[in-house]
Symmetry: C2
Subunit: 152 residues, 2 copies
């Protein structure tokens, strides 16, 4: 499916676009050592083959009111397929949840949650997570400092 293996030129283009997605095609072409049209053709090919999934603006989370980050580990009590589906659906719908991964071990989920503060976080846990029937326990670690945070 992903036989579109990027050659050296593609890698250079990807690197530039990761560093600045709003660079103009002309500028990009010059940086990687191509002329404009083949450069644009490569970008399109990378987009269409799914190597480039999209482009996004990086917005300061504080502006959006998110000032506190937490890592929550959720353990499920029951394993009914439909309850798990409901759990995952709910997670996807909540803006506070930045990430949610199903991990090995017992059926555990690791969540990265953003909130506007402790009160907001408490409400999120009490009124959203804890109300899901299949949730057995929740454990929270608050993020004191973020050493590194790369994009996907």
């Amino acid at each position: 499916m992903t036989q579109k293996i990027a050659d050296e030129m593609d890698r250079r283009i990807l690197k530039e676009l990761v560093a600045d997605a709003r660079i103009t095609n002309n500028e990009l072409a010059e940086r990687v050592g191509l002329s404009a049209s083949p450069c644009l053709r490569r970008i399109r090919r990378l987009e269409e083959s799914g190597v480039i999934r999209g482009y996004t603006a990086l917005v300061d989370p504080v502006i959006e009111g998110w000032t506190m980050t937490a890592i929550a580990t959720v353990r499920l009590s029951r394993q009914h397929e439909d309850e798990i589906v409901m759990f995952e659906e709910a997670i996807r719908g909540w803006d506070e949840v930045l990430e949610c991964h199903l991990v090995t071990g017992s059926r555990d989920y690791v969540l990265k949650v953003m909130s506007s503060g402790l009160e907001h976080y408490e409400r999120f846990i009490k009124e959203k997570i804890a109300r899901l029937k299949c949730v057995a326990s929740i454990e929270t670690s608050f993020v004191m400092n973020t050493i590194k945070e790369r994009r996907i």
Copy 2:
């Protein structure tokens, strides 16, 4: 510093740019219901005030050879300032580490690590993490499924 509070129009602009950072200014202006020049002025203001930190391309991790994700929890043994600095410096330099957060509790770090497979992961732990003097213990959970993964 971040007194540049986004109004409703700014929020709409941010939403569009998060969804597609390579949209043209004209298209963006039309979508948010502005004409081109005030729209561009707002973008510049959002960029200059730091609300927009940058723009990036989202590249399929599989293309780059990352096929396995793990959540590792690292506990430090000693608390010497300089060892912690060294730990964090090392973490920042390793491509495998996507995220690293210092969390509450005992001095623990939560890491999101990408690798090309189990062998690569084992090598990463043995040859990089475990060799850091201040590391007391490491616990790994492998990601079986990612339910949600939003950008910052």
